[in-house]
Symmetry: C2
Subunit: 151 residues, 2 copies
Amino acid sequence: MQAALAEAALAEAADEVPIGAVVVLEEQIIGRGHNRPVATSDPTAHAEIQAVRHAAQQFKNYRLVNAALYTTVEPCLMCMGALVYARVKRLVFGCFDPKAGAAGSLYNIALDTRLNHRLDVTSGVCEEECRMLLQRFFREKRFRHKKEPTD
Amino acid sequence: MQAALAEAALAEAADEVPIGAVVVLEEQIIGRGHNRPVATSDPTAHAEIQAVRHAAQQFKNYRLVNAALYTTVEPCLMCMGALVYARVKRLVFGCFDPKAGAAGSLYNIALDTRLNHRLDVTSGVCEEECRMLLQRFFREKRFRHKKEPTD
């Protein structure tokens, strides 16, 4: 999770919502990603999608069987769908996202027996650190917005 | 939808599940995509994701407000999530996908009032043509599999 937090810090430095993720296989990090939809003009460029793409391309296989994905925040629907398609075995995340989370908050995709793959999920790892990063980002954004009002 | 079907034919020619999609804004096609997870070693390379990424990159904006996405098959969870994030206004699709569809079959993401965006959905456009393409692909795949058994 420390590696995922380091990725989140890269997103924060680029003024993107600070979320980071890594893909781990046999105790090795095989993919890294951080949130960067604005910089890349790509609405799918969430940290988890970036990490899964990176890992799959390194691995030369679109299936990441036996891999684990570590992410600082509960994944959204899009990212949970990607984890199902990639056959990721295990998901570990930091804090819940009550507004868009799909691994327990709004939906629980990991446990849906109608889909052709399920994941083991561990939540709350470095939870406070992951949440603080997000809270600080949005607090500063609101502060800047107040100081520089736009039409 | 004919342009989306042409994209699906490109997937079929590359031995990928034949699904195609286009993004339309002001009667112009601004993004095209077809299913290619195997060729690209990318589990997220569904037709809809490819088309949305293509459009957003051309448009230099990760939000495709007022755009419509045409796809030959009901999108999955991952793709519906991407359409929500891209703020796509309208979804038009061909045939339903009872096993993985998230615009009416397993889930109805377009109408979820808890998410921060909703889409207008039209289904059943060129339905038979879209379904036949899929059925032919899987029939031929089973036939080849029978002829060439592997361990």
